[in-house]
């Protein structure tokens, strides 16, 4: 079978059924919803980041733990004290 003849037959078949030339008003793009949706997601992320509380909040337990750490002194602390400690202050 000759390929050229087969293609010619297919071409004739298809060209008989070619729709007329026209330029329709562009149909609403199927991707049209995608851009606003992506923009909304980006906007939502920006809003969430902007409104996120920036100051760190501590619970009472956190404060108690911090105080305990600050006030703790080792038993051998006195060994580090020099006779001149406090003179230069």
């Amino acid at each position: 079978m000759n390929l050229r003849d087969s293609f010619a037959e297919l071409r004739e078949d298809e060209q008989r059924r070619t729709p007329a030339y026209r330029i329709a008003a562009p149909s609403p793009s199927r991707l049209r919803w995608l851009r606003p949706a992506a923009a909304f997601v980006v906007f939502a992320i920006v809003v969430v980041l902007a409104l996120r509380p920036r100051h760190v909040t501590f619970t009472n337990d956190d404060r108690a733990a911090a105080r305990a750490i600050a006030e703790w002194r080792p038993r051998t602390d006195f060994l580090l004290r020099m006779p001149s400690t406090g003179v230069s202050r």
Binding site: L3, E9, D13, Y21, I23, S27
Partner: protein, 162 residues
Amino acid sequence: MDRAELERQLQAFHAASFAWALACCDRDRSDAEDVLQTVYVKVLDGKARYEGRAAFRTWLFAVIRKTAAGHRRFRRLRFWPQPNGHRASAEEELIHGERAAALLRGLKRLARRQREVLELVFYHEMTIEQAGETLGISLGSARVHYARGKKRLSMLLAEEER
């Protein structure tokens, strides 16, 4: 090229463009019509601009191919089922003659690039070089796709004849 001239050119190549769009859309007529309308609007709105570096038909076919590829990608992303099948139905094949239907079956079994080169050369009577330009591949690659595709298609058609 001004808008009137572009319209004239689009109209002159309309039948060939539709046939190429059909080939790029796996012979789905409604997809081919959608793709072609999108291409026409793109061309007339200047979103696809003809710079005169290749023949108008070569450039137009490249735009059709690119648009159809985008259309196919979008189809794959779809979450909802399609009401009618994507592939050409058996009914549609009945419309074609027996030889053309066998050719379509054979073409479907080729790699996309091979199929495209053969369609451009045999159906649209382009040279292999023009086919390569349309597909954005080198002449060497186009020749390889042409030779392999032609060999395989001839083999498939011979199998069908037996």
